[in-house]
Symmetry: C2
């Protein structure tokens, strides 16, 4: 009896010791969130909804103001509270270059890529040095170019914009003002097929100093190429829509060149050399996939041009949102952390696989053809690699298929009409960088379309 009691006492005291150690240990090593608790919990809750893998919930989803849990926002063609229902025969969106192919990458990098924005985060118009530009963000951007090897940043000013969209407008504006002694407006030129934004901006702003003139080669061969009229040539390389590397067509004392390198990343193209131009623009949207953040940057050699662009940014938005700059800093920190290894392998791997699938289908078609680009040596991956452009630039080969966009639309695939790019309607652009669901549906519809060509035997479809 006595011994039993002694044993009980001993066990009880030992248990007490264990408990005491447990509590002391946890209160000293577990970090206890205080004011960040609510925000973190809300983010974790939203992230915990799987939405059947065909959608996601965001902390600022519909209804959260009324205290509801954020709802699943489904990928196209998926519906239902948990995005589990796939609509049959749903039309495919292959129009915009919404870069959601990188979303799964960032979901896997959840811990490293999150930022917590405090309520008093950088309320001032300016940073400590009096500018609108985060110096740490500038630093990580220079580092990014150095690890990827796609651009020289020495002796360059770095300028930030609300997307490359704002920087394009700023750059064209700055370049059009460089020679005000010439009375006729500067001509904006580019190569067909071209990204429509160049034309749309120039026409919309309808400046007395600028006129969009279309194709640079046509201009060069025309009599209007007088070596006096000021000319701005936009070079998009890799090109949107066809993914080809491009060089300037024009030169001369009256020519200013603006390089749009939005797609010059290992996801899409061999990195053949570090570009070293007067004025280069880059876009976060096509680097990390964050189109929604509206962030782009430019590398500018000439101080006077930089200052004019800076004034443009100041007079149209007073710089870029501080929340955005904070988030972009964190994202790029993750990217450069391993020299871009994870993100570019993921991005390239994803787009490459999509091209393989696509090529298989189109190889069976005589009705449609795709752009082809010869592989080149990539300094980033240290090997010869194929191009994996963001977009398929599809040509309808049959003489009667004059409007390729409509042919695809009838097959429930919405691309972008070739005429939007200054090209023929015989071309249509299909986006390959959207979500996996969008791509899978595109493939399903493409198979049907190609399958219905009379000369394609059905057994060819067994393995794709």
């Amino acid at each position: 009896m006595m011994q039993k009691k002694l044993l009980l006492l001993t066990v009880s005291i030992i248990l007490n010791l264990v408990f005491t150690i447990h509590i002391l240990y946890y209160s000293s090593t577990t970090w206890n969130p205080t004011w960040t608790n609510r925000a973190a919990a809300e983010a974790e809750t939203a992230a915990s909804f799987s939405c059947s893998g065909h959608g996601r919930a965001f902390v600022d989803g519909l209804g959260v103001l009324d205290g509801q849990k954020p709802p699943c926002e489904c990928n196209s063609c998926y519906i239902g509270k948990d995005c589990s229902v796939l609509l049959k025969d749903c039309p495919v969106d292959a129009n915009s270059g919404d870069p959601l192919f990188l979303e799964p990458f960032w979901m896997r990098q959840a811990e490293r890529s999150a930022v917590l924005v405090s309520g008093w985060h950088r309320m001032s118009y300016i940073y400590e040095d009096g500018t609108y530009v985060s110096r740490e963000l500038e630093k990580v951007i220079r580092k990014l170019h150095s690890v990827v090897g796609n651009a020289v940043t020495d002796n360059r000013f770095v300028i930030f914009g609300s997307g490359t969209t704002q920087l394009l407008a700023a750059a064209v504006h700055a370049l059009s003002l460089t020679n005000s002694s010439v009375s006729s407006p500067a001509r904006l030129l580019t190569s067909i097929p071209y990204y429509a934004m160049y034309k749309d901006q120039a026409e919309f702003f309808d400046s007395a100093h600028l006129k969009f003139e279309g194709d640079a080669s046509a201009w060069k061969q025309s009599g209007r190429n007088d070596n006096i009229t000021q000319v701005i040539e936009v070079v998009t390389s890799p090109n949107n829509p066809d993914g080809k590397l491009k060089r300037a067509v024009l030169d001369g004392p009256n020519v200013k060149t603006l390089h749009d390198y939005a797609y010059y990343w290992p996801h899409f193209s061999p990195i053949t050399h570090p570009v070293d131009e007067d004025l280069s623009l880059f876009s976060l949207s096509k680097t990390t996939g964050h189109a929604g953040s509206r962030f782009g940057w430019g590398l500018v050699k000439d101080k006077a041009i930089y200052e004019k662009m800076d004034r443009f940014i100041r007079l149209t938005s007073m710089g870029v949102s501080k929340e955005t700059q904070l988030h972009v800093l964190q994202l790029l920190k993750v990217v450069v952390g391993d020299g871009g290894n994870e993100i570019f392998n993921f991005g390239y791997g994803t787009v490459k696989k999509r091209w393989e699938t696509l090529n298989k289908i189109f190889s069976m078609s005589t009705r449609f053809s795709l752009q082809t680009i010869k592989p080149e040596y990539c300094n980033y991956f240290k090997k010869v690699r194929e191009f994996t452009p963001s977009y398929a630039w599809v040509k309808c080969e049959r003489p009667e298929d004059t409007n390729c966009y409509e042919i695809f639309r009838a097959a429930k695939i919405t691309g972008r009409n070739g005429n939007v790019f200054g090209s023929e309607e015989r071309f249509v652009r299909l986006s390959l960088i959207r979500s996996q669901d969008d791509f899978d549906q595109l493939i399903a519809m493409l198979k049907k379309l190609v399958y219905h060509e009379e000369d394609v035997p059905s057994e060819n479809f067994m393995y794709i």
Copy 2:
């Protein structure tokens, strides 16, 4: 002996029970952060630096890329690692309207105002409904106007911009295009003294459709007021720089009016009525103090004007950053949560106290005078209240003091020259909405300046 042991056993078992309950309770009620842990811990660390109350550290401060702790960023005139050293005779910055007077409010609202941005937060260009606009944010903005009673939002489109800056450009652009059949450019008019941005934007963009013409009253009285030439009048109410409520000067079929209500909040002005105009602009900067977020919004009655503004926003930035919209949603949720009670009492209280101090000093001066505005009934505070403008609009009364800005600069106070506002150099604008440190230093320097007027007896300074 036996009893002692029994007592020990009982105590030990009770202790065991207490520990068990403690552990069970904490493991069930303490939420354990997972992927949000790093971001939250970094934010808490930065926030834990007090910087002697004369600065603050931000998670994206200089050196954080290299793994350093974020440094204190000191208010002007404070230096040292912890911002504890006040520089003697340091020149005062009273120039820009950086709204840091609200920073202490948001520091107190730390828990409610924080947001955690995940790495995959809204990577798409668009929201679920295909627009660039968060519907929840639109909802909370309508709610904000309804609780403050400063604007009617029914039958209005809400448009977002990267600061009111972008919306101003968008609005003027849209209004200048409304009648393209008239060949001469639309004239942009406002009332002196005016916010320089209107003029600077118009002159910088140098559009064929718009010409800045200055003072609306002067135009009205001139022969050029022909009722045919298209006219855009910007009405800033309360006015920047002088804080007065304003009405449009011009009317007629050829007149379009654009209302800039950036300062129409209880911090600065009695809310005399809910404004109900065709096109009104508001700025987050002067509502919550978040100038760095670059967020503004417009209320637009006419669909065609709204669509033109929307196209302007699309072609200059493709909408506003999603990180920003997320943060603004959270901030405004805090504001409307108690009907604006806390923030507007804090803001009004702060600016009112500053005006009391300022009035005391200027009441002793014959050399300088301040604007005066008669108190009015405020529908928000339900009482007659004085105006508490963001800026002191100071006049140098002595005939020889022709350049008031220089007089103040010689006294180590940098304001903004009256001529920047289209007014005389006899005026200077002093900002009263900056940090408390900036204001305190302004007061110290003002005292010295007024003290040195020959006719002010020194004992007047004993009590201020």
